[in-house]
């Protein structure tokens, strides 16, 4: 009887748990899983709920009134769109960088050696749709390389693109560097002058009720920017923001 009572009290602490909803880009899936767990470990009474999806899809959900506290976007344009719409309450902070690479199935069966191979007629090439950040980054890469490849598919998000590369259905695709950390596919290095860096931005959403000096939403963002948070991101292949 006593142990039951103890158990019950352990399960329902006196202070009611605070839950924050963190909307994060799909390329942050693994990194923010660890981030949320580590953050919850530093707080006694905060739960983090992750909502993962394409950055632009999450932006539309927030504009449609989704209950988000924090938004972490895989490019700045998406975040700026939300700021312009008055949906962001804090100054967006750049918290990570990523780069695009060429991904090929394990062993590189098609023998891709450089970006110019993307114009080869015999290769099946995939990129992300230009509407999503990884597609915008790929377009930027093609512009830098002065290349106009004709892709065979424009996948709706980076994860579905990577899956088709891993499966060997696509010979080569343009993905984020960080996506390759937990992937079976290989990468083809790009020369220095073709480095496309993307910035990840994080901010508190205007409709959030967990804001203010002690609000969990601000605490979470501070944690992401802290050395511990940055170490987690680095482990998942994301770079530190370039300090100005």
């Amino acid at each position: 009887m006593l142990s039951l009572a103890l158990l019950a009290s352990a399960c329902s602490p006196a202070r009611s748990d605070e839950t924050i909803q963190v909307f994060a880009a799909s390329s942050l899936t693994d990194a923010f899983g660890d981030m949320a767990a580590a953050f919850e470990g530093t707080q006694s009474d905060v739960n983090v709920e992750l909502v993962l999806g394409g950055s632009s899809s999450l932006r539309e959900q927030i504009l449609d009134g989704a209950q988000a506290d924090v938004f972490a976007s895989a490019n700045l344009d998406v975040m700026i769109g939300l700021v312009d719409a008055g949906a962001i309450a804090s100054v967006p902070m750049t918290f990570a960088t990523n780069g695009v690479v060429l991904a090929v199935p394990a062993g590189n069966p098609a023998g891709v050696t450089s970006i110019t191979d993307l114009s080869r007629e015999d290769l099946v090439v995939g990129i992300c749709a230009v509407e999503v950040p990884c597609g915008a980054a790929a377009a930027q890469l093609f512009q830098l390389a002065d290349l106009q490849p004709s892709p065979d598919t424009q996948e709706p998000n980076v994860r579905s693109l990577l899956a088709k590369i891993e499966e060997g259905e696509l010979d080569v695709g343009v993905v984020y560097r960080s996506d390759l950390i937990s992937s079976t596919s290989d990468s083809i290095p790009l020369p220095q002058e073709l480095m496309v860096e993307v910035d990840y931005a994080i901010a508190v959403v205007a409709d959030s009720t967990n804001t203010g000096s002690n609000g969990a939403a601000d605490e979470f963002i501070a944690f992401v920017l802290s050395p511990v948070g940055q170490e987690i991101l680095e482990r998942h292949g994301l770079g530190q923001p370039v300090s100005s």
Partner: protein, 265 residues
Amino acid sequence: MTRQLRSIKSAPPVLVAAAALAVAFFVVPLLGLLWRVPWTDLPEILGRPVVRDALVLSLLSSLAAAALSTILGVPLAWLLARVELRGRSLIRAIVTLPMVLPPVVGGAALLFAFGRRGLVGGGLEDVTGLLLPFSTAGVVMANTFVALPFLVVTVEGGFRNLDPRFEAAAASLGASPLEVFRRVTLPMIRPSIVAGIVLAWARALGEFGATITFAGNLQGRTQTLPLAVFVALESDRDEAVAMSLVLVVISVAVLVGLRDRWWRT
């Protein structure tokens, strides 16, 4: 056939209320869509290449899938309804599986079978040079995969409800089995075949999951209207809504065109 219809006043209010709720369940989302339609910009949006390409591809691939379903499905339905067959229920279960399977699972299964690294896809590419994933043929295939069961189930019902004595009479007058099938059976179950084709076509027109998984997404080649709507929802709401309206209008037009069958009161 005459039917006795009662006055709505004498109908149990609970049933009427539930039925009204069911109607509202379909009408309210439709109004939600119409409410968001950018009417003034509509002509400009519908003239955009991405919208036109998707519309053309959707019409072509769904019609091709309906035709393929008819050619393959009618004989199969006849076999299931009329021929003593070992493992008939197993065959029927396999054929109707795509009706309950999530389309994305169907698309993945197609990829594992007909993809370049798939069970038979690699050999097919070596022999014929035909690459199904990321091609319009792949779209038609994904559409047929989900649409064919609707035709088979509908037409099999038609065969079952047909009195076999008509066929027996024709046969006794000297018609060959194929002649009986062509000149007696098919004309008599015409309504079922038409209904089956329309259902299969409608299912193909709305196909999304199997298509994007198996055939990918490329404007002009594999991007059908539902795929274009999905991508546009993330970037251009007006465009997405305009294309959704096109899908609704096409579907309603077909239902009205078939009012003899379904709108008869």
